[in-house]
């Protein structure tokens, strides 16, 4: 059997809060198979973003391990090619147009060529922004910015996309459209997806729905 795209074992994470230690994650285990979509819900402050940061290699657990495709290398170099990230606040670079924002992830991976430019335009077309490739983020709506961020997360053909409340700053209709688009793109590219969301309807659209409660993951 193939290694899971992502495998986490016994993740623990605490933060200092005044004199006390606040234990946010208390031994989280998670496996995500290739092409699988997993949603993680939980109350505010339950540790969803903390978990996502550990899974994405942006932060180190106090205890436990994270492996991508069986390898514990979750450093920056590997992350650029293995993982795509989507954030609640889009995080587009304001000085770059939509196409350049999409290509930024590719540049970081190691330079761009004609094929990369072509793929960026193709992705923008897939997210419905073919005509806005050369618009700056300031000239795009919130939904359009998030769609640019989706295209950026897919430019390097990642094995896994982690999306941290990608609809948090969008209205319901736009949020639904973005989640549908995200799931559709992941399915067609056989890319695994971890979707952190508050929205039960969005979570229901993923193949597996988990809830983070009291620092541990459980089925919904």
């Amino acid at each position: 059997m193939n290694d899971p795209v992502l495998s986490a074992r016994g993740l623990r994470k605490s933060f200092r809060s005044g004199d006390a230690m606040l234990e946010v994650l208390r031994g989280v285990d998670l496996d995500v198979a290739a092409g699988e979509s997993v949603s993680i819900r939980g109350e505010s402050g339950s540790g969803k973003s903390t978990l996502l940061n550990l899974l994405a290699g942006l932060d180190a657990p106090d205890e436990g391990t994270v492996a991508w495709d069986g390898s514990s290398d979750t450093g920056a170099r590997r992350r650029s090619g293995y993982l795509g990230m989507v954030f609640q606040s889009f995080y587009l670079v304001p000085e770059l147009d939509a196409c350049s924002n999409v290509l930024l992830a590719r540049r970081i991976l190691g330079g761009i060529d004609a094929a990369a430019r072509s793929r960026a335009l193709e992705l923008l077309d897939q997210v419905g922004l073919a005509g806005r490739a050369h618009h700056l983020p300031s000239q795009l709506s919130g939904g359009e910015r998030q769609r640019v961020a989706l295209a950026r997360s897919l430019i390097n053909h990642p094995r896994l996309i982690v999306a941290d409340e990608p609809t948090g700053n969008l209205d319901e209709r736009t949020g639904n459209a973005v989640v549908d688009l995200l799931l559709g793109l992941c399915t067609s590219a056989t890319t695994a997806l971890i979707l952190v969301t508050h929205n039960a309807a969005h979570a229901a659209k993923t193949r597996r729905s988990l809830v983070l409660t009291a620092g541990t993951l459980g089925g919904s």
């Binding site: 973003s49 940061n53 994405a56 942006l58 932060d59 920056a76 170099r77 590997r78 992350r79 650029s80 090619g81 990230m85 954030f87 606040s89 995080y91 670079v93 304001p94 000085e95 770059l96 147009d97 350049s100 930024l104 992830a105 540049r107 970081i108 991976l109 330079g111 050369h134 700056l136």
Partner: protein, 409 residues
């Protein structure tokens, strides 16, 4: 192009936007610093270059001197002229005299020159403004223009010359009359020190005044074009007796050249502070940029950018501002130098100080001379300082952890 350089350029010059204010202000500071360095160093270089030029024009490339006077100088001149690389040599006698015209006196250097050979070594004819050196005989002199003006003498006037010998004999209770000489010309070299205190006469006149007999004080030498002065002096010394030595003009005026060099270096060092202050402005702008873009920096880390690359992005912005500011500063500086005399002329006309300017600064026009090495030094120093200005912001950006930067408000 690496992503951090691409992003650095885009942050300085965003797509579809006007020149950003931060970039403009940062670049402007560097531009003004470089322009000022180019202008001041150019003018300082001009003063030094013109001064050196005048020294060589009036003293030759090499001066030959003895402990006392040089006896049998025709033989020495002949021997010197036989040395490879020597174009010509001319003897001279020079000392301080007192001249008197009416009730006005002055104490210039009277230099006796050999009319047959002086033109091949020191092109004094070039500086004659009235009369000609050909009009000189053993009973006449040529006055420097400002000296003539200060004692009120004109061409055709007769003035009295008292040499040190005259004064010495007067002290011995001997009756010794001053030498009466006619003024047959005036010259203006363009260097205040020479124009206010120099008199030229024939070698015979000077020998008589100084009691030299058939000896001279020294010999000036002109080298062929392209011959190095130090090499020329060494070759001449090889054929001269030990009590007669040849010195390149740089050796003869080494103290003066050292002072000139010290002045230039000090001014360069002081003006460099303008670039350093401009670099602080660059640093301040970039630090603000790091704070404003904290979440973007977090994004770059999340997308796989390494801290050293994030740091390079901000350092590169300092570098690009340095390059742009230097290029604009060079253009501005050289343009200002090109129009320097128009500006000075306008200022002196408005303030009616043309004569003061000439008297005080020794030159009637503001000279300028910029060497490639000076420009290279200014360019390299400015770009290095600007790039260093990006180091602190770069270090702060590199220290940001993506997870904390993304979470910042």
């Amino acid at each position: 192009m690496p992503w951090y350089l691409h992003l650095a350029l885009r942050q300085l010059f965003p797509t579809g936007r006007r020149f950003p204010f931060f970039t403009l202000i940062s670049t402007l500071g560097v531009t003004l610093g470089v322009a000022l360095l180019i202008i001041v160093m150019g003018v300082m270089g001009g003063f030094a270059y013109e001064t050196k030029h005048k020294i060589v024009d009036t003293e030759g490339d090499i001066q030959i001197k003895a402990r006392g006077a040089i006896a049998d100088f025709p033989a020495v001149v002949k021997r010197v002229e036989s040395v490879a690389g020597v174009a010509a040599a001319t003897p001279y006698a020079s000392d301080t005299v007192m001249i008197k015209f009416g009730d006005k006196a002055a104490y210039p250097q009277l230099r006796g020159i050999d009319l047959d050979s002086v033109g091949q070594v020191t092109p004094l004819d070039r500086y004659m403004i009235v009369g000609s050196l050909d009009d000189l005989d053993d009973d006449s002199i040529v006055l420097s223009a400002q000296l003539a003006q200060s004692i009120g003498a004109n061409v055709g006037d007769t003035i009295e010359v008292y040499s040190p010998l005259t004064i010495q004999r007067m002290g011995e209770d001997e009756v010794f009359l001053p030498r009466q000489v006619r003024v047959v010309g005036m010259l203006e070299i363009g260097k205040q020190q020479l124009d206010s205190s120099t008199v030229y006469g024939t070698l015979r006149l000077a020998q008589d005044l100084y009691g030299l007999g058939s000896t001279v004080h020294g010999i000036n030498v002109r080298l062929k074009p392209g011959v190095n002065e130090d090499d020329g002096a060494a070759r001449i010394n090889a054929v001269l007796p030990e009590d007669i030595r040849a010195f390149s003009w740089e050796d003869s005026f080494s103290d003066f050249l050292w002072v000139l060099s010290l002045e230039r270096n000090m001014i360069f060092f002081l003006l460099l502070f303008i670039v350093i202050v401009a670099a602080f402005s660059v640093m301040s702008s970039l630090l603000i940029s790091v704070v404003r873009k904290t979440r973007e920096i977090g994004l770059l880390g999340a997308l796989g950018g390494r801290p050293v690359q994030v740091a390079a992005c901000f350092c590169a912005q300092g570098f690009f501002i340095g390059v742009l500011g230097t290029a604009a500063g060079l253009a501005l500086g050289f343009t200002a130098l090109a129009f320097r005399n128009d500006v000075v002329l306008w200022i002196t006309k408005v303030t009616q100080r043309q004569e003061v300017m000439r008297r005080f600064y020794e030159f009637s026009e503001l000279p300028s001379h910029t060497t490639g090495s000076t420009v290279a030094l200014i360019v390299v120093m400015t770009i290095v300082i600007s790039t260093l200005a990006g180091l602190l912001p770069a270090w702060k950006a590199a220290r940001l952890k993506p997870v904390e930067a993304l979470r910042s408000e």
